[in-house]
């Protein structure tokens, strides 16, 4: 009983500490004082101001666009890679597995710096400035592509190989068998790989700061994502007021995601229980 009280106090205290900065920022999103800790009356003004702030809206747009494009490409190439490697000879498969581990364990700053040096090196050879949307896209894909591979691989291993053979024996063309048998089997892995790719891209700062050039919604200026914009602002002073209201919105989205996940989990658990009852 004592253990239960101590344990729960400890858990909730730490949770509070983990969320405290964000919660404080949310609380101060209802006032227009410059610094956190000052209160100049309750107002909802920061919320419309957020949507009128062109800079933040452009950065948000860029962030979402890059996340979706890089995650889609990484998911396609990574999943195909996992399928291809799975059906290759063992030695080749192990080599690909090993190469996949490199970007996973590598420090983000080394990934960013090595890519940048390569783009500079090639740029010197072809005498051009390579940094653009494309270099940024490559950078983000470098972060996410191994995680897609890693998520798809176990699904292939769990798959019953006779399913594919059966489909081919029953007259399906190999490509049709692949689409109708293998793809549905690995789909959960593909989806979780895609979600991880989106998360990594949304959150990234270092690779973005190193590999970006002009393009996307920023036009002829350097591409600004949410991370780079926030970083540029907090280097000079407190978090801009409009970003407080943005934090509230992001926080609510995260809470919604947690509710959905827990609902899904409890439904899954119920299913398992029902199955066991039989």
């Amino acid at each position: 009983m004592v253990k239960k009280i101590i344990g729960q106090t400890y858990i909730w205290l730490l949770l509070l500490l983990m969320y405290l900065p964000v919660l404080v920022l949310i609380a101060f999103s209802f006032t227009e004082a410059t610094n956190v800790g000052e209160w100049s009356g309750f107002t909802f003004n920061l919320y419309p101001r957020l949507f009128q702030n062109k800079e933040i809206m452009i950065a948000l747009g860029n962030t979402v666009l890059i996340a979706i494009i890089s995650a889609l490409l990484a998911t396609i190439i990574g999943s195909l890679g996992a399928v291809g490697a799975f059906y290759s000879r063992k030695r080749w498969r192990n080599t690909v597995d090993l190469a996949t581990q490199i970007p996973v364990v590598n420090a983000e700053i080394v990934v960013a710096f090595s890519l940048t040096v390569m783009f500079v090196f090639i740029g010197n050879i072809v005498n051009a400035y390579l940094f653009s949307f494309w270099t940024l896209l490559i950078g983000h894909m470098c972060l996410s592509i191994p995680f897609v591979y890693i998520n798809v691989k176990p699904k292939l291993i769990q798959m019953d190989p006779s399913l594919y053979e059966a489909a081919v024996d029953l007259g399906a063309s190999p490509s049709k068998a692949l689409a109708k048998v293998v793809v549905p089997e690995i789909m959960p892995g593909v989806v979780s790989g895609f979600l991880i790719a989106i998360t990594l891209s949304l959150d990234d700062f270092i690779v973005t700061a190193f590999t970006r050039g002009s393009g996307l919604l920023s036009g002829s200026k350097k591409i600004e994502t949410l991370s780079t914009l926030v970083q540029a602002k907090i280097k000079k002073g407190p978090i801009p007021l409009e970003m407080r209201s943005l934090t509230t919105i992001i926080f609510l989205l995260v809470v919604a995601a947690i509710v959905l996940i827990s609902l899904y989990k409890s439904r899954q658990a119920k299913k398992m229980r029902n199955r066991r009852a039989f």
Binding site: K3, K4, G7, Q8, Y10, I11, L14, L15, L17, P21, V22, V24, L25, V36, I77, L80, G81, A82, V83, G84, A85, Y87, S88, R89, V96, A99, Q101, I102, P103, V105, N106, A107, E108, I109, V110, F113, S114, M118, V120, F121, C142, I145, Y149, V168, P174, S175, L202, D203, F205, I206, L226, S227, Q231, K233, I234, I239, V254, A257, I258, S262
Partner: protein
């Protein structure tokens, strides 16, 4: 016979699906590392007569690193902060994971998700929020750069510690713990002789998940210490800003060596775990 041949042809074809993936890894993972090695052991010189810059094989970047007081200092400070962050995270995270995995204390699996969820809020925004809160509390980077940086690091990397520790804690052999208690072990003995040895794989992966990222982090130290603490990551960023590709490459190479060392350590421990598993059977 014919169908067999057709089948073999397509079996060959299926493996070609990984070609784009392999090319991607080769071009954007392997080749950049190769280029870093090349840059680390060459140096850019300018011909005084013609003003043309050229690259030459040289140990200049190596010398620049090992003779520079400030760079070696950065290395020491990075190791120190990374070590301290890892230890604090473990001390906080270990009991937390234990309680989270204990069915008597926590019946709610969602709580674990709650500890991971901060990672879904933009990381730079979170760091800024921590900085603003700490400034309000009077712990700003100007006064307490180390304290502020450590708080930020621990807050950011705690989820990375909780996840692996929680996974091993859910697999703890409780009958062993009960046996130790029944045979008269006091709580400290149970902890040090039973629970911690059982949790070693989780502890090792928790250390790896925090140590290297802390050493190479850029935003947290830059924001929370207001530029007063330079970690390895900050220094590489500085070389990037100064376009000092050779010196930067050499430092990146040192990071890679550290990463390789941690990989070997983690491989060793995961190997031990497998061996232990087979022994138990």
């Amino acid at each position: 016979m014919k169908s067999h041949k057709v089948k073999r042809f397509f079996t060959l074809q299926r493996k070609y699906l990984c070609i784009p993936y392999v090319i991607f890894l080769l071009l954007f993972v392997i080749v950049p590392i190769g280029i870093i090695c090349f840059y680390a052991f060459t140096y850019e010189y300018t011909d005084p007569a013609t003003g043309v810059t050229y690259m030459k094989a040289s140990g200049q970047a190596f010398l620049n690193f090992f003779t520079s007081r400030s760079k070696l200092n950065v290395l020491l400070v990075s190791l120190f902060i990374a070590l301290l962050t890892t230890i604090i995270c473990l001390i906080i995270g270990f009991p937390l994971a234990y309680f989270l995995a204990d069915k008597k204390v926590n019946k709610n699996a969602v709580l674990v998700t709650l500890f991971i969820a901060p990672m879904w809020i933009n990381f730079v925004l979170r760091t800024g929020a921590t900085r603003d809160l700490l400034t309000w509390m009077g712990i700003n980077g100007g006064n307490y750069p180390y304290l502020a940086t450590l708080i930020g690091m621990v807050q950011n990397y705690l989820p990375f510690v909780i996840l692996p520790l929680y996974t091993t804690m859910t697999k703890l052999d409780h009958s062993q713990i009960e046996a130790a208690k029944d045979l008269g072990a006091n709580p400290a003995q149970v902890l040090f002789k039973n629970i911690i040895p059982q949790a070693v794989p989780g502890i090792v992966s928790a250390c790896i998940m925090t140590f290297m990222p802390t050493m190479s982090s850029y935003v947290i130290s830059d924001t929370l210490s207001e530029g007063k603490i330079t970690l390895f990551g900050n220094y590489i960023e500085l070389e990037f800003t100064n376009k000092a590709w050779n010196d930067g490459s050499f430092m990146a190479l040192i990071m890679l060596v550290f990463i390789a060392i941690t990989m070997v350590i983690s491989q060793k421990f995961s190997g031990d775990e497998e061996k232990g598993g087979s022994k138990a059977w």
